[in-house]
């Protein structure tokens, strides 16, 4: 159970996704620790079916609610709920079909970069995309991180 095992599982199940949020920021150099994996996923029917099947296998359940409440993990749940926050056997996972400030999966994919995670390769939202997303989310903890991400953009630019 770990961020790495979730990423490996998603890749192995052939899920089309882009990592956003804390893990993406970490990939770009942020020192902040994150407990959950945030992903934006393709809403193509076959991708939704594969994702729903994988999450069912992982015993995914909405996070922060009492156990035993009604919950159906299927394509329709992914289609009708734009943000889903889950606890799974592999860890905490948040699903987004759209990233505010950036757009739908196609837009997020265009704004992504390839990340080498050692055991797994994946796409992650780039730094400008992360800044837009944080500003659009607008929560104090998101806005808190904007200066750090903007500094990373500048430092990476100077490094070249």
């Amino acid at each position: 159970m770990s961020l790495l095992s979730m990423l490996e599982g998603l890749a192995a199940a052939d899920i089309e996704f882009v990592v956003i949020g804390g893990v993406a920021a970490r990939a770009h150099g942020s020192p902040r620790i994150t407990e959950d994996l945030d992903i934006c996923y393709s809403t193509a029917t076959d991708n939704l079916d594969r994702l729903a099947a994988l999450l069912a296998e992982w015993n995914a359940y909405p996070r922060g609610v009492e156990p035993g409440l009604p919950f159906i993990m299927d394509r329709r749940t992914l289609t009708t709920n734009p943000i889903i926050t889950l606890t799974t056997d592999e860890g905490a996972l948040d699903l987004f079909d759209v990233v505010e400030g950036v757009g739908d999966f196609k837009a997020v994919r265009r704004a992504s970069v390839s990340v080498d995670g050692g055991a797994v390769q994946f796409l992650a939202l780039d730094l400008p995309g992360l800044v837009k997303a944080k500003k659009a989310a607008g929560r104090p903890k998101d806005l808190d991180q904007v200066p750090e991400l903007e500094a990373l953009i500048e430092l990476r630019r100077k490094k070249r």
């Binding site: 620790i33 609610v65 943000i83 080498d116």
Partner: protein, 164 residues
């Protein structure tokens, strides 16, 4: 539960909640029970076009007997028209939205923040901290927390953005 969280749990803007309370003459109550009734009210109002008061009456009647399949179907006299609510689907979607509300993805607060500074959990909520993650973490032992930090830190250090 805050107004923002309740609004998120029922997939409506906070303004709709405030208007509904006023029209239905309800005292403001931000509870899961109230959220469930208003969630179904909103589904009936938005998807079928029922007037708010009628939608609310139907929602309350339906949720009074959650385990009775018959209560989720309402027929007109003579059976010419019927409203059928997919109980399992509604409750599942409500669970997802409740989780989202508690994880800190509630409707963004607008306007000036309150003068009285909040502390502790209330302050964290307002800041957008995902309290569900904190609660999950508290279920683990210190050793488990540190082990996961170690594993995840090692993984995080191995991440490398490929040059384009």
């Amino acid at each position: 539960m805050t107004l923002g969280q309740l609004a998120t749990a029922i997939s409506a803007p906070p303004k709709w909640v405030l208007n509904a309370n006023a029209v239905l003459q309800l005292k403001p109550a931000y509870s899961v029970q109230r959220a469930r009734v208003l969630a179904l009210t909103r589904v009936l109002e938005q998807s079928i076009g029922l007037p708010l008061k009628r939608a609310y009456q139907l929602a309350r009647k339906t949720l009074k007997k959650p385990d009775d399949p018959a209560s989720w179907r309402h027929e007109s006299p003579g059976g010419i028209a019927a409203v059928v609510i997919d109980r399992e689907r509604f409750l599942s979607d409500f669970t997802v939205n409740l989780s989202r509300a508690r994880a800190g993805y509630a409707e963004r607060r607008r306007g000036r923040p309150p003068l009285k500074r909040k502390r502790g959990v209330a302050a964290a909520k307002r800041h957008g901290v995902d309290l569900s993650l904190l609660r999950e973490s508290l279920k683990r032992s210190s050793a488990e927390r540190l082990r996961r930090l170690d594993n995840d830190a090692a993984f995080a250090q191995s991440l490398e953005v490929k040059a384009s």
